[in-house]
């Protein structure tokens, strides 16, 4: 129906009966058959070429680049084949293309969000702040990237939920990639009594780090006094581990530090305040008179 209507609208035939008669003729049926074959051949060729592109890019490009390249090749070839088939069937494609331009403008206004996500997707693809398999933090969401599409990225959170984040959000908001570098640092914030010897504390913490096999010897652990509070000293002890061992490091280091401090008799203090009460003098004039 679409072909017939197009032929009627854009062709040279003056009336409906003549146009229909021509299309139902032997010559017309052959043209349609050939056009269908061209379109079908184009689709098969597009699939084959897309497969070749996938094979050529396999291992060389990211999953996202591979997917986009495959689609560009596949749809590009198919559209060319489709236009060729329409021309063969006698349709005036230049008019169709002109109409397509107008439709594109209308669609553009109607789909600003989608277009924004699409363009953001291209920027993200160029910038490449993360790849599939990375663990990222976006806003309040932390999860593993399982898919990066043209419009959005999909994360799997640690409690196994699927979170879809639009590309525009990814581009605009602060994004932290937890798995970009091969090693990570754990910063332990400790609050220590003023009575505790800092040298002794430093030695204890370094011993805990040395005894922990997943705590790296290089870069060396860092002992840092970050400040003096009202009732405690604030100490930061930073240790490094391989990225894959980070969770184990966090648990084992806190357990090790707690046990070592307990063994050394060092208590982690609770907030406290000293209250000094001065007794009132008893020789106030008014009271003594009573």
């Amino acid at each position: 129906m679409t072909l017939i209507a197009s032929r009627f609208l854009f062709g040279a035939n003056p009336s409906v009966p003549e146009a229909v008669g021509e299309w139902l003729g032997v010559e017309g049926r052959l043209e349609i058959l050939v056009a269908l074959l061209i379109a079908l051949g184009g689709w098969v060729l597009a699939r084959v070429c897309a497969g070749l592109v996938t094979r050529a890019l396999s291992g060389r490009a990211s999953a996202q680049q591979e997917m986009i390249s495959r689609r560009v090749v596949q749809y590009g070839i198919f559209i060319v084949a489709l236009i060729s088939a329409m021309r063969h069937a006698g349709l005036d494609t230049s008019v169709l293309l002109g109409a397509a331009g107008i439709v594109t403008v209308a669609l553009g206004f109607a789909s600003q969000t989608s277009a924004s996500n699409l363009i953001s997707g291209f920027f993200l693809m160029g910038e490449k702040p993360f790849v599939v398999g990375d663990t990222i933090i976006v806003g309040a969401t932390t999860g593993e990237v399982i898919n990066v599409g043209l419009m959005s990225a999909q994360l799997r959170t640690f409690d196994n939920l699927l979170v879809r984040i639009p590309n525009e959000t990814l581009l605009k908001s602060e994004l932290t990639n937890l798995t970009h570098f091969p090693i990570r640092r754990l910063d332990m914030q400790l609050r220590i009594d003023f009575e505790t010897s800092l040298d002794a504390l430093r030695a204890i913490l370094l011993r805990v780090a040395e005894d922990n096999p997943i705590c790296m010897t290089s870069p060396e652990p860092l002992f840092l006094i970050t400040g003096m509070g009202e009732s405690v000293m604030n100490v930061q002890f930073s240790v490094w581990s391989a990225r894959v061992n980070f969770v184990d490091l966090r648990n084992s280091m806190f357990i090790g530090v707690k046990e070592a401090l307990d063994a050394a008799g060092i208590q982690l203090p609770v907030p406290r305040q000293h209250l000094t009460i001065h007794a009132e003098p008893q020789t106030r004039g008014g009271l003594s008179e009573e």
């Binding site: 090693i183 040395e210 922990n212 096999p213 997943i214 705590c215 290089s218 870069p219 490094w240 391989a242």
Partner: protein
């Protein structure tokens, strides 16, 4: 990665020999031909990072034993393999040696008559810009008569190069 107990300097044209022990791995195999079922380290060495920055480098194990220049000073045991390293400073400057990345996976394992395990020796020639690290064909003569127990895990013996940056500094 091994470190000397205290950093030392090697003058231009000078050379030094030192030994270190690295923990063996226990492998459980079954069947004929033997198929590996399980691998366990006799001692779990600490992880460490060998590289110019926290972005570039290589994840490796840190040697628990410090490098010794006296063979008798090494606390060797049946679960350790000894390696001799000959460090040659062929550059025109004093080499301040602080650490060395040993390609332990490229070394084979030998059993000496006295029960000690040895690997092939290593020869690191520090030039002006690069380090040529060569795996020798056999354990050093100090090992006495040895019998090969295991081939190297990775690759074969030969000459390979590593950046000087991490070695000196």
């Amino acid at each position: 990665m091994i470190r000397p107990e205290q950093p030392f300097a090697l003058f231009a044209g000078d050379e030094a020999v030192f030994y270190f022990g690295s923990p063996l791995w226990l492998e459980l195999t079954a069947g004929d031909p033997p198929r590996p079922l399980l691998e366990l380290p006799c001692v779990r060495p600490s992880d460490t990072w060998f590289g110019p920055s926290t972005r570039e480098g290589e994840l490796c194990y840190a040697a628990q034993t410090r490098a010794r220049m006296d063979l008798e000073a090494i606390d060797w045991g049946p679960a350790r393999a000894l390696t001799r390293v000959r460090l040659i400073n062929s550059s025109a400057q004093t080499l301040h040696f602080t650490r060395l990345l040993v390609p332990i996976g490229r070394l084979g394992l030998f059993l000496a008559a006295d029960g000690r395990h040895w690997t092939e020796g290593l020869r690191a020639n520090v030039g002006t810009e690069v380090v040529d690290c060569e795996v020798e064909t056999a354990p050093p003569e100090e090992a006495g008569s040895v019998e090969r127990v295991r081939e190297a895990r990775r690759g074969s013996s030969g000459v390979f190069r590593r950046a000087l940056v991490a070695l000196v500094g």
